[in-house]
């Protein structure tokens, strides 16, 4: 018999409903798993053991009273450590927030708590979500459950690894330029970046406000739909939240892609993409065609500008968003001779290298005399990139690309070369700039490391992504690899 930690939420729901297991059993099992593997994987910043056990008892009581429960009730999950949790330390994996305990919950946290999901803890990340390997955490790096010598990706590396290592059933991450999809690809799990405005950002510690979105990591499409059902929806606390109705996403889980028009953007297939990944990608295209989808090459001509303008817009917003960490009210304070020296010392010691690099980049891009040449121009190009997507989506239902140009790389391989690290976001950044949804799903392995496929959809067209993903899941065995956790188990 397989262990409980291998199962998905919808599989566990059946056992819970039948009374074969209790939420408390489930939580205990996952706590044991965390105990066993997290020493090596390091996915967690904080494990909330006591709270989780207490919460599980509450859910078990509710189930005993036959209360109407959410499909995610009693299911253990984890949150990236940039989502505010009332009474639970929220660090963004930064030294500057080492002791920050929010007095309020992020909207997504409220929603998952209302659904009685069990928060098992907070996951490690690249500091303030800046990075693609989780090596930029101010505390420790997270390891890839497939191979402890390679990175899990980032910035939501802890969230992705926690699901891949079966420490939790699902987790939430945030995606500003690929921070959900890239680690999902590296860790062999599903990761979705929703349409901008579909999930409330209230309580998500901001990196780049116009790009950030919260989304789920799961081990199959059904779980992805279940989490989406709980966390999506309009929030009056977030002005950028879209006032739209949320459908039941499980209805989109159809094993059928007949007649679906899938675009294959040629600009994503450049020479930088690893041949093994291209091989997997081609297999996926062939599979989809075999199942009746119509796949055609399309062009998004402004794709090459996505990465450069991303590295203007995101740091610009970040330079302003991160200015509040000044040591005055909360978090780290390093005393100085006067207020200015306190600001300087606090920020110099509190932030890591990558964060400082981006604050400087962003400050420069917004400075008087440079604003028009950089920031304003970047906003104009962003509009062109959006138009590229609008145009292809007039004819196509979704797009298929690789998620990353390479599979998970070794620790230290790119950390001293920011540009090559940034290149890892090349396939994921355009969806953030355009505000459209994109999902990464596992599709085979290359030298034992997972390969990710990216599906990009129309704004609010997440249903199509689920449908394609679900169909692939039902018709190949490549979509659900499992890590062996060599040296861990």
């Amino acid at each position: 018999m397989s262990s409980l930690t291998e199962l998905t939420a919808h599989e566990l729901k059946g056992l819970l409903d039948k009374g074969e297991i209790s939420s408390k059993d489930l939580v205990k099992e996952h706590l044991e798993r965390i105990e066993k593997v997290d020493k090596k994987v390091n996915a967690f910043m904080t494990v909330t053991k006591e709270e989780a056990l207490k919460q599980a008892e509450v859910v078990d009581e509710k189930r005993k009273r036959s209360e109407q429960l959410s499909p995610l009730a009693g299911i253990p999950m984890a949150l990236k450590d940039n989502m505010c949790t009332k009474g639970i330390r929220t660090t963004c994996s930064s030294k500057i927030l080492h002791n920050f305990i929010p007095p309020y919950n992020a909207t997504v946290v409220e929603k998952l708590m209302k659904a009685d999901s069990i928060v098992m803890g907070k996951c490690n990340m690249d500091e303030f979500a800046m990075g693609s390997s989780t090596e930029n955490s101010g505390y420790f790096p997270t390891k890839n459950p497939y191979d402890l010598n390679v990175v899990p990706g980032g910035s939501s590396g802890g969230s992705a690894a926690s699901v891949a290592a079966e420490e939790v059933v699902f987790s939430l991450g945030s995606d500003t330029g690929g921070s959900i999809r890239q680690p999902a690809a590296f860790c062999g799990v599903i990761g979705l970046k929703p349409t901008y405005g579909y999930v409330s950002r209230y309580g998500l510690v901001a990196f780049a406000s116009s790009l950030d979105q919260i989304g789920p990591f799961t081990r199959d499409m059904t779980d992805c739909a279940l989490v989406m059902n709980e966390i999506f929806g309009h929030d009056h606390k977030d002005s950028t939240s879209a006032p739209v109705e949320v459908p039941d996403f499980t209805k989109a889980l159809n094993n059928d892609v007949k007649g679906l028009k899938i675009g294959l953007p040629k600009e994503y297939m450049n020479e930088g993409i690893n041949p093994d990944i291209i091989e997997c990608y081609k297999q996926a295209v062939a599979k989809l065609e075999e199942l009746g989808a119509v796949c055609e090459e399309v062009s998004l001509p402004h794709t090459e500008y996505a990465l450069p303008i991303y590295y203007i817009i995101a740091p610009a917003e970040a330079s302003s968003n991160l200015a509040r960490y000044d040591g005055v009210r909360y978090g780290l304070r390093v005393e100085g001779e006067d207020i200015v020296s306190m600001f300087k010392k606090t920020r110099s010691q509190g932030f890591g290298e990558e964060v400082k690099r981006r604050i400087m980049l962003g400050t420069y891009a917004l400075s008087s005399g440079y604003y028009d040449a950089y920031y304003l121009k970047a906003l104009k190009v962003r509009t062109l990139i959006k138009q590229d997507f609008d145009q292809v989506f007039e004819k196509f239902d979704c797009l298929l690309t690789p998620t990353t140009p390479t599979t998970a790389f070794n620790f230290g391989e790119k950390v001293d070369d920011p540009l090559s690290m940034y290149m890892n976001d090349i396939c994921t950044v355009p969806a953030n700039l355009a505000g459209v949804p994109a999902l990464s799903m596992p599709f085979g392995l290359s030298k034992g490391r997972p390969v990710g496929l990216q599906l990009i959809g129309k704004a609010f067209g997440e249903g199509t992504l689920l449908r394609v993903g679900y169909t692939l899941e039902q018709n190949t065995t490549l979509t659900r690899p499992r890590p062996e956790l060599k040296g861990v188990m």
């Binding site: 309580g203 901001a206 950028t240 200015a323 509040r324 000044d326 005055v328 207020i339």
Partner: protein, 483 residues
Amino acid sequence: MSVEFEVVIGLEVHAELKTKTKIFCSCPTEFGGEENTHVCPVCLGLPGTLPVLNERVLEFAVRAGVAVDCEIANFSKFDRKNYFYPDLPKAYQISQYDLPICKEGKLEIAVDGEKKIIGITRIHMEEDAGKLLHSGNTITSSHYSLADYNRTGVPLIEIVSEPDMRSPEEARAYMEKLKTILEYIDVSDVKMEQGSLRCDANISLRPVGTSKLGTKAEIKNMNSFKALQKALEYEIERQQEVLEEGGTIVQETRTWDEEKGITVSMRSKEEANDYRYFPDPDLVPIIIEPDWVEEIKNSLPELPDAKRKRLVEKLGLSEYDAGIITESRALAEFFDKTVTLFNEPKTVANWIMGDFMRLLNVESIEVKDSKVTPEKMAALLENQADGKISGKMAKTVFEEMFVTGKTADEIIKEKGLVQISDEGSLGEIVDNIIEANPKSIADYQDGKKKAIGFLVGQIMKETKGQANPGVVNKLLQEKLSQL
């Protein structure tokens, strides 16, 4: 040879809006309150929080805009003004930069009867910062500073004028007019002393006849109309001295030191911040429907200029009187109400500008808190017009009314203050006085007409001031001519 200089002044006025809640959260805006009690995660700028615009703020800003003839933008947005200071919890202020909600307005001022139009460049919305209390004189020289964030996020509008003012008097008149308008449209408490109305001035000099603007200084910290005028007077003198000695004015920010009566340099332009304004990605653009603006326009009360015009043209008041009465909306409404009950505008105006305003000033009472209501004042004037009481009695009654809030009838009855106009009973008293004062009668008959005043005085004394002076005069004349 000395050059004559022309003064150029522009004002930047900040008015706190009197919405119930703050601009981006639901904390109360109430003045006072224990430190850091009117705060929440949003106005404290805690990580992860987001602003949501209070629609009343938008409405109040549009009200202000249409009241000073501004064009209301149909597309507007919020921007971040970035700078580090401990009273600013996000290290940026949410403000408006290149697309303010209102632009190109104007208002009319009058100095010594001379009218002038002052242009308004723009009005924009922004959030207020918190308050710091330093252990020393300045933040850098202090051991510690205490921060109170109650005021953080209180909505402000900044009203920027054109550099159209040419004297401290004009600047003051502009400021007073703006205050009056904001009070009329009920968007701000406009109390300079409490800081709900604040003003910075840009001032420069240039040789008369030239059109190029001189280098300006920005003056801050003027907390009253008087301070504004004095600071500008001082600054003109200072700049003139520098220029006359062949020096140049440094572009800088100066603060008004009320005690010493001087302006002091705070920071020069070189030290000025680059605020790195950019559109706030946490807020969506503001789209304004013309219909809504029209609705707001129609909901405005009669504004001071229109009111003044009506008082002069329809009710026959002098420009001066109409000006004084319309300076405050409360006073003007008191006037209007009283006139509907007692239709002699000039008499009402005299009473309001005379005893009423005098007593309000002496007791530091606001019109709305006064125990004298338009109904009570009209009833008093009615009594006087009927001849029931004399003008002098009316003043006595009014003073009593102001203190106790009793009606004229109650006071007249209590004090027995009824005027005697009955010719029969007054005739008897007149006869007695004539009889008792033969010397005065002789003087009168010798042509000393003044003697009649003495006789009237005696009669008033006899009647404890209740005799109707008109009737007394008439009876005296008649009886004396019959002697």
